[in-house]
């Protein structure tokens, strides 16, 4: 009888301890750390997402990816196969704390990052990059094939890309430097700066953000710049050959190149429209702004002063 009572008491105590322990574990906020190396194909996809914190991804040689991740709170979700690596934070267990992700991946890896507020840095991956963030800054250097970088209020800075680029921010700055491929940049109020661009297709649009472009104007290429109130500054090489159309409602037009009005200029229109040809006229340049000033200046295709 005594033994039975004692056994019951022990079992009850153990159950209570287990219950309290589980409750405490469920309620506490804990972080995690991960440091591992996995094999990864050169064309693999690395998919990273987090709410806040920091992301740094660096491309390198070899066929392995090293992953170092820490969280202030929340579980690290990690799974890897030769063709895909996923890294994120489980939002359960109070996973709203910061996370710091540092990865080195084989060159050629496709990288996808989604974040709410974390600054994102991706360097030397020499592969496709797709980045989306709400308020974090984005920096991408040395990507290839295709790059898409978007932020709402963060700055988007991309450089040394061989491939098509789409970069946009609503209120943040958009910088695109040393791009060799089609280029599209957009903003609402953030200024857009493009320099060292070698492209046959460039399109840039903003509402109030200033736009500057310095790059080559390839034969048969199309280059369009449009804003509402942001100024446009285009730096054209001295030997450029282009058919140029400039149009503004109330902005000013300033050109370092001699402008000869074409007979088809519509003098009845309230806005000013100027069309002229430079050199062989093979490129097509369109610059339109409702009230922003438009400046065409001689340059070397590298400088992109945006000091209007």
């Amino acid at each position: 009888m005594l033994i039975r009572t004692f056994t019951r008491a022990i079992l009850s105590a153990m159950a209570l301890v287990a219950c309290v322990s589980a409750t405490a574990r469920a309620q506490r906020n804990y972080g995690e750390t991960l440091d591992t190396t996995v094999a990864l194909d050169r064309q693999a996809t690395v998919d990273v997402s987090l709410m806040s914190g920091r992301v740094e991804i660096v491309g390198g040689g070899g066929s392995q990816a090293r992953v170092r991740a820490t969280t202030d709170r929340g579980d690290i979700q990690f799974d890897a196969a030769p063709g895909r690596l996923r890294l994120s934070v489980n939002p359960g267990h109070g996973g709203r704390g910061d996370a710091r992700f540092e990865l080195s991946v084989p060159a050629g890896t496709r990288v996808i990052v989604n974040s709410l507020s974390a600054p994102i840095s991706i360097r030397g991956v020499k592969g496709e990059v797709d980045v989306n963030t709400v308020s974090g800054n984005v920096t991408v250097t040395d990507a290839a094939r295709k790059l898409k970088a978007e932020s709402v209020s963060g700055n988007v800075v991309v450089s040394q890309v061989t491939g098509d680029v789409t970069a946009s921010s609503v209120s943040g700055r958009v910088d695109a430097t040393d791009i060799n491929g089609d280029l599209e940049t957009e903003s609402v109020s953030g200024r857009i700066s493009m320099a060292g661009v070698r492209s046959r297709f460039v399109r840039s649009g903003s509402v109030s953000g200033r736009i500057s472009y310095a790059g080559t104007f390839e034969p048969d290429g199309t280059y369009e710049f449009k804003s509402h109130s942001g100024g446009l500054r285009l730096s054209l090489p001295a030997d450029v050959g282009a058919q140029v159309r400039i149009e503004t409602f109330s902005g000013s037009v300033d050109s370092d190149f001699p402008v000869t009005l074409q007979p088809n200029t519509d003098k009845r229109s309230s806005n000013r429209r100027i069309e002229f040809k430079i050199g062989n006229g093979r490129s097509r340049i369109v610059a339109e702004s409702f009230s922003g000033n438009i400046k065409l200046e001689r340059g070397d295709g590298r400088d992109s002063r945006n000091d209007q």
């Binding site: 709410m51 509402v207 409602f249 229109s269 429209r273």
Partner: protein, 286 residues
């Protein structure tokens, strides 16, 4: 028409395709050749076709320029929130937000459909909510732009835009034939009529009204899920865009035939829709 011993013109006609494609059997081809050599009709046909083929081969390969395609694409895309555009790689932590957005879209679409249906059965007006003139919240997140009113409510044109759903098709049809095609294809959505003290919304705006209203409804429901700092940025950006819309519209009122100003207005409206879509798909801060 001339008949030959072994082949008639009709028979040649039936074999012509194979003859031109080079898939005809050798004996049949010989028979056609013999007939054509002595038939004025068939030899003329063959010569004409050969000439056309030769000229066609000389034509350069045509492909629409990319910027042209962008315009076409914008016109043919359905005016819905592109949930499919949602990142394929959306994380589990953001799925509730996406689900909520999708549900809100369905509800909003159903609501719009309901109103459109009922409006077609009885006269009804909608009015654009009075927004603080020039204020940063003008048609911003906090205030949905379009508020349904009852059929008996007197139209308040002093501060709002009257919207007549029944007049929409007429308005679309009555758009100037020479209107520059910079805008999107007119939809059967509502048409924003003019405020008394502001220039009339041009035909280019017709297609935007319903989608903007839809998106603003979604965003209104999502507002609390979003980071306050982000909401502030979005409201400021919408204020900038709204100012651009007002300025473009005012200029267009003075010069209604200006394609440039129409493009500028459409550009601003495109930006607005683009921003609203982005906001509708933003991940929740939670």
């Amino acid at each position: 028409m001339t008949d030959r011993q072994m082949m008639t013109c009709t028979a040649v006609d039936s074999e012509l395709l194979g003859y031109l494609e080079g898939t005809l059997a050798a004996d049949a081809r010989t028979a056609v050749d013999e007939h054509v050599a002595s038939c004025l009709r068939c030899s003329s046909i063959l010569r004409d076709i050969g000439s056309i083929r030769a000229q066609a081969a000389q034509l350069p390969e045509l492909a629409p320029s990319r910027d042209l395609w962008a315009g076409i694409s914008a016109r043919i895309e359905p005016a819905v929130v592109p949930l499919g555009r949602a990142r394929q790689d959306i994380r589990r932590s953001w799925i509730p937000a996406a689900t909520a957005a999708a549900a809100a879209l369905v509800i909003a679409t159903a609501g719009i459909t309901y109103f459109a249906t009922t409006r077609s059965l009885r006269p009804m007006t909608q009015k654009v909510a009075a927004a603080p003139k020039g204020g940063p919240g003008a048609q911003g997140i906090a205030q949905p732009a379009i508020v349904p009113s009852t059929a008996t409510a007197p139209p308040d044109t002093s501060v709002s835009s009257a919207v007549s759903a029944s007049a929409a098709p007429t308005s679309v049809a009555a758009a100037p034939a020479g209107e520059r095609s910079g805008g999107r294809a007119p939809s059967a959505g509502v048409r924003l009529a003019s405020r008394r003290n502001e220039p009339a919304a041009g035909p280019g705006e017709i297609a935007y009204g319903d989608e903007i209203a839809r998106l603003q409804n979604i965003i209104k429901q999502r507002r609390r899920e979003l980071d306050p700092g982000t909401v502030t940025v979005i409201e400021q950006s919408l204020a900038i865009i709204n100012a651009a819309v007002r300025q473009s519209r005012a200029a267009l009122a003075r010069d209604p035939r200006s394609g440039f100003l129409t493009d500028q207005l459409n550009h601003a409206l495109d930006k607005k829709i683009e921003l609203l879509r982005t906001v509708a798909l933003l991940p929740s801060r939670t």
